[in-house]
Symmetry: C2
Subunit: 141 residues, 2 copies
């Protein structure tokens, strides 16, 4: 997860893209590349997918995103919150309770991501057959 | 979607998903999680995006995927080829020439990924404003 922040300000554009209207993940220093990474990395993508099902507390999310550590989930949620995709709501209860939900932008991004996930899941038999062919070809050498 | 799968049978020891019809990236050991990772990790996503534009040789791809090392691009292409998303064509020329192109499945997956990339690029001004608000809030503490 990217903890390295390049701190863009209005005064010092470090976009690496030509201007505000042309963000380009193919440009090495474009901040869109980092945002895409937050969305698509292992825990970001699974966290966004889980939140498509509703609002969850931290430990509920941890159970849904099978295999994630407490530290990685916390980092993932911070990055998604900072990018405006996840809303963190601290309830004034005792003990305090924190809920995580998608923002409207997060919902759009997660929905688009979910279509990619569904496609990959759907085509897994084809992917596994390709792997078998590849491995057989390379073992034969 | 977010069902934790525990089904492991002798026939399908490594899937972690219930059966061929239910691949689930939320299951820790499901191979779909690895396939999704190949598609969405930093270099996988950019390589698939670049190949949407056509067939390229290794060094052409390296220039397009700005910032990728030779080693990482080679690893990325191997993983995508093994998953059946990229086709590697060695030409019988002297010196030998190797072309990389998307398979039909790779084209579908890359197209879906490209929609996600376009959405993120498109909404970057909103993401950057969210980051500014987040940083201001946390600096004020």
């Amino acid at each position: 997860m990217a903890t390295e922040s390049t701190a863009e300000t209005a005064d010092e554009p470090t976009t690496g893209c030509t201007d505000d209207l042309a963000y380009d993940v193919f440009a090495r220093d474009c901040p869109s590349r980092e945002a895409l990474k937050h969305v698509t990395d292992r825990w970001g993508s699974l966290t966004l997918g889980a939140l498509l099902d509703g609002t969850f507390r931290f430990n509920e999310l941890r159970r849904r995103v099978s295999g994630v550590s407490e530290k990685m989930l916390a980092q993932t949620l911070h990055a998604l919150e900072r990018d405006g995709l996840v809303h963190r709501e601290a309830q004034q209860t005792n003990p305090p309770r924190v809920d995580y939900a998608l923002t409207p932008l997060g919902h759009q991004v997660a929905g688009q991501l979910q279509m990619l996930i569904a496609l990959v899941e759907d085509r897994m038999p084809e992917v596994l057959r390709a792997r078998e062919r590849y491995d057989a070809r390379h073992a034969a050498r």
